[in-house]
C-alpha cells in the first residue's frame, strides 16, 4: 500500500509466518463479515419475534369459552315462571338448580350462589326465557344451552387473568374461580371454536366476546372490487400509453415525474385528498367502501403503473417488429401481441398493489371507515358499496385503541386473518410469475 507500510513490512522473515499487520487485516476482514451476518440475523430475529407474537397472541381469538348445560323445562315450570313478577330471575333459578344438580352428580361440592353464576355467565335468565318464548314446542324436552362465559372467565382460560392478578370486584371474585375450576373438571365449561369472530360484526366497547371481523372483511371486499375495477384498466392504459405511444417530450416527462412522486406520497395525504374532494366537494357518502375504494385506487395506481411498464418493456422489440412487418397497425401490435405477452408481469404487479391497498389503514380512518361503523352486513350488492362499513385494518386499529384488554386478542386475531389474505395474494403472484413469466 503506502510507502511507510511497505518499508515496515519489508524485512519479512518468511512468507509462511503471518506478521502482525497481516493478522490485523485478516481480523478486520473476519469482523466485517461477522457484522454482515449479525445484521441479517437481527433482521430475521425481528421477523421471528413478530411472527411468534402474532401467532401466540392471535390464536386465542379463535376460541371462546362456553358453558354447556343440558336442561329440561316442564310446562308447569314455564307457566309458573311467566306468572312471576321477575320472570327472568325465575328462569335463572331453574338454570342454577340444573347446574347445581349436574355438579353434585359429578361428586363436586362447591358453594354456588346466583350472584357468582351471574358473574360467570351474565344474565342467563333472559337468554333462556327468549329461547322458550320463541320455541314453545321445546318445552318439556331436554335442551342443551351453550352460553358464552364472561370476558374474565375467558381470560382465565387464556392466561390473561390469573389468581395472582385478580382483584375482587363486581365483575369477578377470587371465589368464582373455584367454581369455574369445578365446572371445568365437570366438563361443563369448555373451549370451542369461535365462529362469531369470523362471521360477526363489531360489538360495543364493553363486549369483546361478541366482536367479529366478518362485516369488515365484507367492507374490504367491496373496496377491493372498486380498486380492481378502476386501477386495472386505468393502470394498464396509462402504462401502455407511456411505454408504447408517448412521444419523448416535456408533457411525457412531467407525467412520469408525477407518477414516481405519487408513489412516494404518504398514504395519509391520500386520505386528506379523499376527505376534501370526494366527501366535502362531491358529497359522496361518508364511511362508504366506494369512497375508500376510490382513495385506494388513486394510491395504488402509481404502484401498478411502475411494474406494468417494466413488464411491457421486457417484451422484446422483435415481437413488435414482426407484427408491424406483417401489416398490423401500431394499436393492433400492442393489443394483440405485446399486451398478452406482458400480462403475467402486469398481473403480478397488480396483485402486489392490491395487497398493499388491502393492508392500508390511515386514509380509511380519515374518510370515516373506522371499526365501530361495521355493525352489520350490507343489505345487498349495491348497498355494499354505499352503506357505511369498515375494512379489516381499520377494524383492527379500532380494537387496538379500545381500553378493554379483551379486544387486544381480537386485534391480533384480525391480523392473522388479514395476513392470511395477504399471504394468499402473494403466493398467487409468485405462482403467476413462476408459471407464466417468459424470459427472452
Amino acid at each position: 500500500m503506502t510507502d511507510t507500510n511497505a518499508s515496515r513490512t519489508a524485512p519479512k522473515a518468511s512468507l509462511l509466518t503471518i506478521d502482525s499487520h497481516t493478522k490485523r487485516r485478516q481480523a478486520a476482514e473476519k469482523r466485517f463479515r461477522v457484522y454482515g451476518i449479525v445484521a441479517i440475523v437481527i433482521g430475521m430475529l425481528f421477523l421471528a419475534v413478530l411472527a411468534v407474537s402474532i401467532i401466540r397472541s392471535g390464536l386465542p381469538a379463535f376460541t371462546k369459552t362456553i358453558v354447556e348445560v343440558e336442561f329440561t323445562l316442564t310446562q308447569d315450570e314455564f307457566d309458573a315462571a311467566e306468572k312471576q313478577l321477575f320472570k327472568t330471575k325465575a328462569y335463572a333459578g331453574y338454570f342454577n338448580a340444573a347446574l347445581l344438580t349436574k355438579l353434585r352428580e359429578q361428586g363436586l361440592d362447591v358453594e354456588v350462589d346466583a350472584k357468582a353464576i351471574e358473574r360467570i355467565l351474565g344474565k342467563t335468565g333472559g337468554t333462556i326465557r327468549e329461547f322458550y318464548r320463541a320455541n314453545t314446542e321445546q318445552i318439556g324436552q331436554p335442551v342443551a344451552f351453550k352460553l358464552a362465559a364472561a370476558s374474565r372467565v375467558d381470560g382465565y382460560f387464556k392466561g390473561r387473568v390469573s389468581r395472582d392478578t385478580l382483584q375482587d370486584s363486581r365483575f369477578m371474585q377470587l371465589s368464582d374461580l373455584d367454581l369455574v375450576d369445578a365446572l371445568y373438571s365437570a366438563g361443563i365449561i369448555r373451549q370451542v371454536f369461535n365462529w362469531t369472530f369470523i362471521t360477526g360484526a363489531d360489538s360495543g366497547v364493553d363486549n369483546p366476546g361478541g366482536a367479529g371481523i366478518g362485516a369488515s372483511v365484507v367492507g374490504s371486499f367491496f373496496m377491493m372490487l372498486v380498486v380492481l375495477g378502476l386501477s386495472l384498466p386505468i393502470g394498464v392504459a396509462a402504462s401502455i400509453y407511456l411505454e408504447e405511444f408517448a412521444p419523448q417530450n416535456r408533457i411525457t416527462d412531467f407525467i412520469e415525474v408525477n407518477i414516481s412522486n405519487l408513489a412516494a406520497v404518504p398514504s395519509i395525504v391520500y386520505g386528506i385528498l379523499g376527505l376534501s374532494i370526494f366527501i366535502q366537494v362531491m358529497h359522496l357518502p361518508q364511511s362508504a367502501p366506494l369512497v375508500g375504494g376510490l382513495v385506494l385506487t388513486l394510491m395504488t395506481l402509481p404502484r401498478i403503473i411502475i411494474p406494468a411498464r417494466a413488464a411491457l418493456k421486457a417484451v422484446p422489440p422483435s415481437i413488435r417488429d414482426a407484427a408491424l412487418g406483417v401489416g398490423a397497425s401500431k394499436v393492433q401490435t400492442v393489443f394483440h401481441h405485446v399486451l398478452p405477452l406482458a400480462t403475467p408481469g402486469i398481473l403480478t404487479g397488480l396483485i402486489i398493489g392490491l395487497g398493499q391497498a388491502l393492508g392500508e389503514t390511515a386514509p380509511l380512518l380519515l374518510i370515516g371507515m373506522v371499526g365501530f361503523v361495521a355493525r352489520g352486513y350490507p343489505d345487498g350488492f349495491i348497498a355494499g358499496f354505499t352503506d357505511p362499513n369498515s375494512a379489516m385494518p381499520a377494524q383492527i386499529y379500532t380494537w387496538a385503541a379500545r381500553a378493554d384488554v379483551g379486544f387486544y386478542e381480537k386485534a391480533w386475531g384480525g391480523i392473522i386473518i388479514l395476513l392470511i389474505f395477504l399471504l394468499t395474494m402473494n403466493i398467487l403472484a409468485v405462482i403467476l410469475r413462476r408459471k407464466f413469466e417468459r424470459r427472452w
Binding site: 487485516r25 478486520a28 476482514e29 466485517f32 463479515r33 454482515g36 451476518i37 445484521a39 441479517i40 433482521g43 430475521m44 425481528f46 421477523l47 413478530l50 407474537s53 402474532i54 397472541s57 386505468i234 392504459a237 396509462a238 400509453y241 408517448a246 407525467i255 408525477n258 414516481s260 412522486n261 405519487l262 412516494a264 406520497v265 404518504p266 398514504s267 395519509i268 395525504v269 386528506i272 385528498l273 376527505l275 376534501s276 366535502q280 366537494v281 362531491m282 358529497h283 395506481l301 403503473i305 394499436v331 395487497g355 388491502l358 393492508g359 389503514t361 390511515a362 380519515l366 370515516g368 385494518p393 383492527i396 387496538a400 385503541a401 386485534a411 391480523i415 388479514l418 395476513l419 395477504l422
Partner: protein
C-alpha cells in the same frame, strides 16, 4: 338504484350501435368483407365508442359538478346575518342538507306527500314535528329560510338527476346515430377507432396529473382557509400544541414545532436502527453470501416490507412497548426508571426501523450490484481484502446511491402513520428523552380529522396545514433522493 340503470341503458345503446354499425358496413359492401376498408369489428366499435365515451364523460362531469352547483345556489339563499352570528357556512349548509334528507325520508315513509314537502308556506313548527316523528335528525327550530333552502335543494337535486339522465341518454343516442351514419364501406373505421383508443390511453395517463392536482388543491385551499383563522407565524413557530375542542378558535395553541420535533426524532431513531442493519445485510448479501444463502435470506428480509403497517403498530403497542418498559421502566432489568409507559419515541422508532430494514437493504443491494465488477477486480489485484474493497472502493462508489436510499427511507419514516398513532403516544412535547411519549405530524392529522369537530374550525383545518407540511417535506426528500440516484447512475452507464 337509478344510477346503475342509467349505466346499463348506456351499455345497451352502445351494444345496439355496435350491432347496427357492423351490419350496415357489411350491407354497404354487399356482404363481402374484402370490399371494406377495415374489419367489420371496427365499424361496430366506432359506433359503440362514439355513443359510450362522450356519454360517460358527461355523466362523470355532471356527477361532480351538480353538487357543487346546488351547494352554491343554496348557500346563497341562507341569509348572511345568520352566518355572521357565528354559525359557520358549512354548518348551516349541513343543516339544510339534513332537512332535505328528512323531507325525503318523510315522503318515503308516507308521513308527507310530495306536495306537502314542496309547500313553501308550510307551518315550520308542524313540519319539524312531522320530520322528527318520521325519524329524521333535525334541530328543533327549523327556520323558514332553512326550510326554503332545503326545498330548493331538493328541487334542484331532483331536477338535476332527471336532466342528467335525459342529457346523457340523448348524447349516447346521438353518438350511436352519428357512428352508424358514418358507416360506409370506404369509411376508415380502423383509423378512427385507433385514434379514439389512443385518446383514451392519454386520458388514463393524465389521471396521475389530476391526482397530484387534487392533492395540491385540497391542501392549498384548506390551508389558506386555516391561515385566515389562525396566524401563520404562530403555526410555524409556536412551541405549544394544545387544541381545544370546547370553544371555537382563540383558545387553541396550534404550534407545529413540537410535532415536527417528534416526527424528526422518531425518524432519526428509526434510521439509526434501519441503516446499519440494512446496509450491512445488503453488503453481506451482495458481496459475501453464497447464492443459496442469498436466495433464502433476501426474500425473508423482504417479507418485512410486505407486512401492513397496522401490524407494526400493534406490535409496537402490545409487544415492543411493554418489553422496553420491562427493561428501562420502573423496577426493570436495568434498575433505572426512565420509561413511564409503553408508548414512547423509542418504541415507535425501533418498530419503524424494523419496517425500514428491507427498504434500505434492497435499495442498497441494487446500488452495490450496479458498481462495475472492474472496480472490484482492480482492488483485489492490488492485494486488498474483501472488506477493504468494500470499505475503500465499493462504498465510496455507491455512496450517492446509498444516500439516496437513506433519504427515501427517511421520507417513508416521516410519512408513516399507523406505527406512531399506536406506538408513540398522543402528547405533543419538546423533550430530549427518547423514553417519553411524543407525537408526530401524521398522528395529529388522524386525531384532528377523526373527531366530531366542525370542519370549518381551526382545530380541524390545522390538519390540512399539517398535511401540506408533510407533503412538502416528503416531496422535497423524494426529489432530492431521486436526483442524487439519477446523477449517480449516469456515471457508470
Amino acid at each position: 338504484m337509478p344510477f346503475l340503470w342509467l349505466v346499463l341503458i348506456l351499455l345497451a345503446i352502445a351494444a345496439v350501435g355496435y350491432a347496427l354499425g357492423r351490419a350496415r358496413a357489411l350491407a354497404s359492401s354487399g356482404g363481402d368483407i374484402v370490399q371494406l376498408h377495415s374489419l367489420p369489428v371496427y365499424y361496430g366499435s366506432n359506433a359503440a365508442l362514439k355513443s359510450l365515451v362522450p356519454a360517460l364523460a358527461v355523466l362523470a362531469v355532471w356527477l361532480v359538478a351538480q353538487p357543487i352547483y346546488v351547494t352554491n345556489v343554496v348557500s346563497g339563499m341562507i341569509p348572511q346575518a345568520q352566518i355572521a352570528e357565528g354559525v359557520s357556512d358549512s354548518l348551516a349548509l349541513s343543516e339544510v342538507r339534513r332537512i332535505a334528507d328528512g323531507l325525503d325520508l318523510a315522503v318515503a315513509n308516507g308521513a308527507l306527500t310530495e306536495g306537502e314537502a314542496r309547500d313553501g308556506n308550510a307551518d315550520v313548527g308542524a313540519l319539524t314535528q312531522t320530520l322528527q316523528d318520521a325519524g329524521a335528525v333535525v334541530t328543533n327550530e327549523i327556520t323558514a329560510q332553512a326550510l326554503a333552502a332545503a326545498q330548493r335543494f331538493r328541487a334542484l337535486s331532483a331536477g338535476g338527476a332527471w336532466a342528467m339522465t335525459a342529457v346523457v341518454i340523448a348524447i349516447a343516442v346521438i353518438g350511436a346515430f352519428v357512428g352508424i351514419r358514418q358507416t360506409h364501406k370506404d369509411f376508415r373505421a380502423r383509423n378512427v377507432v385507433e385514434q379514439g383508443i389512443r385518446a383514451l390511453l392519454i386520458a388514463a395517463s393524465l389521471i396521475a396529473i389530476l391526482t397530484t392536482l387534487g392533492i395540491v388543491l385540497s391542501l392549498v385551499f384548506n390551508t389558506i382557509e386555516f391561515f385566515r383563522l389562525y396566524p401563520a407565524l404562530d403555526f410555524f413557530f409556536g412551541t405549544e400544541w394544545a387544541p381545544s375542542f370546547t370553544g371555537r378558535g382563540g383558545a387553541s395553541s396550534l404550534g407545529v414545532l413540537p410535532l415536527l420535533w417528534g416526527t424528526i426524532y422518531i425518524s432519526v431513531v428509526a434510521l439509526v436502527v434501519a441503516v446499519p442493519i440494512g446496509l450491512f445485510s445488503a453488503i453481506y448479501l451482495s458481496e459475501y453470501a453464497s447464492p443459496a444463502v442469498r436466495s433464502f435470506a433476501k426474500p425473508l428480509l423482504e417479507v418485512l416490507a410486505g407486512i401492513p403497517t397496522i401490524v407494526y403498530g400493534l406490535f409496537a403497542l402490545l409487544t415492543v412497548g411493554p418489553l422496553l418498559v420491562s427493561v428501562f421502566g420502573e423496577g426493570g432489568l436495568l434498575g433505572v426508571n426512565w420509561q413511564g409507559g409503553g408508548r414512547a419515541v423509542i418504541t415507535a422508532g425501533i418498530v419503524m426501523g424494523i419496517m425500514l430494514i428491507p427498504f434500505v437493504s434492497s435499495l442498497s443491494d441494487d446500488i452495490i450490484n450496479a458498481v462495475p465488477q472492474a472496480l472490484r477486480d482492480g482492488s483485489y489485484g492490488l492485494g486488498a481484502t474483501q472488506s477493504e474493497t468494500v470499505k475503500q472502493v465499493i462504498l465510496p462508489a455507491a455512496l450517492p446511491g446509498i444516500v439516496g436510499a437513506i433519504l427515501l427511507a427517511a421520507s417513508r419514516a416521516i410519512g408513516e402513520t399507523m406505527i406512531v398513532v399506536l406506538g408513540a403516544g398522543a402528547a405533543a412535547r419538546l423533550s430530549l428523552s427518547p423514553f417519553e411519549a411524543m407525537t408526530t405530524v401524521t398522528a395529529k392529522i388522524v386525531s384532528q380529522l377523526t373527531g366530531d369537530s366542525d370542519f370549518a374550525s381551526p382545530e380541524a383545518l390545522v390538519a390540512f396545514a399539517l398535511g401540506m407540511t408533510l407533503f412538502i417535506l416528503t416531496l422535497g426528500l423524494n426529489i432530492l433522493a431521486l436526483h442524487i440516484v439519477r446523477k449517480y447512475r449516469e456515471q457508470y452507464e
